[in-house]
């Protein structure tokens, strides 16, 4: 499973806009690079990223090869109640990578 890093604050006040950050180790091979034999390396990318919390979606992305290697996103979640913030990445080969972090809302 690829390495991921996520950042969710430990605590937040209800109603706060909370910054969320996520990164996954992935080459996002764009199909335009050549190997040492001069052959194009096929496209190999993460296609989907989703962040969910408190029964709903926060932010999701349909990724294309135009995003950089090791795709990174930051965005803002609206804190409503304590619970897990869940992250999910889908590789084009179907591999699913997940991560989760607890957010305590006071």
């Amino acid at each position: 499973m690829p390495n991921t890093r996520i950042r969710v604050p430990k605590t937040a006040k209800a109603g706060d806009a909370v910054e969320i950050r996520a990164i996954i180790q992935h080459p996002m091979e764009n199909g335009f690079r050549l190997d040492s034999q001069g052959t194009a390396i096929p496209v190999e990318i993460i296609t989907d990223f989703t962040c969910t919390y408190d029964g709903g979606e926060v932010f999701s992305v349909k990724l294309e090869p135009g995003l950089s290697a090791n795709p990174y996103f930051s965005f803002y979640l609206k804190a409503t109640k304590s619970g897990p913030v869940d992250f999910r990445w889908v590789d084009q080969d179907g591999t699913i990578t997940t991560a989760t972090e607890q957010l305590d809302v006071t």
Binding site: N3, R5, I23, Q25, M28, S68, A69, N70, S74
Partner: protein
Amino acid sequence: MNRALVAILACAGIVATFAAVFASDQVPTQKPISGYDFMTTEVQQLQDDDFANPGLLWVEEGQTIWDDTKVASGKSCASCHGDAATAMRGVATRYPAYSAEADHVINLEQQINQCRRERQGESDFPYESEPLLSITALVSAQSKGLPQSVAIVGPAAESFERGKAFFYQRRGQLNLSCANCHEQHAGDHLRGESISQGQVNGFPIYRALWQTMGSTHRMFAWCNEAVRAEPYPAGSQEYVDLELFERWRGQVLKIETPAVRR
């Protein structure tokens, strides 16, 4: 230094002492400046971001390797060394260094592989492989903020002199030495791109051009090919010698691993 004087001193039987003094009296020809200072603001910010710096993914992978007991000896790096954060603090500042076991100067990657062979009963991680980059990044990152301080005297002196000669040797179809660009023209521009001093205090680096981590030796090979010179293999003694000279040349610069470069 007067060659005749060297000969006389050698005849007097104090050559070893003299060599040590001679080497340690050397000073870099210019004030060292980190590659960081030649980068655009965006690149600097990516390096400084303790979350988004992509090199940290390799550092974290390195931590997994550090703790991995699934090796022939059953002993992880941590089994002998303990916590990397304390045990490895300052270690990267001293490499490349003379190894009595190898009887020549080796770099950090080679020291790690030596440990792997002798303590873990495993074969080497191949040069430039993800695990070697990761564990090297982890160990180097523990010295972040500490100045490079390699020894160039005693048994390392010959390696240092070879590395220095390499740095000043013109090579390739374009007939350029490292020094031609990185010493004589640091701060000037090749096309739109500023030329750095070619300092190595941030390696392994996350290089935007490569879109991944790379070692000093990958960078040396890349530069050699840029001047259309036949590169040496990663891990070759030529590049270890050059790395030693480079680390000494940037002696006061602080380790930045994992640095981000364009």
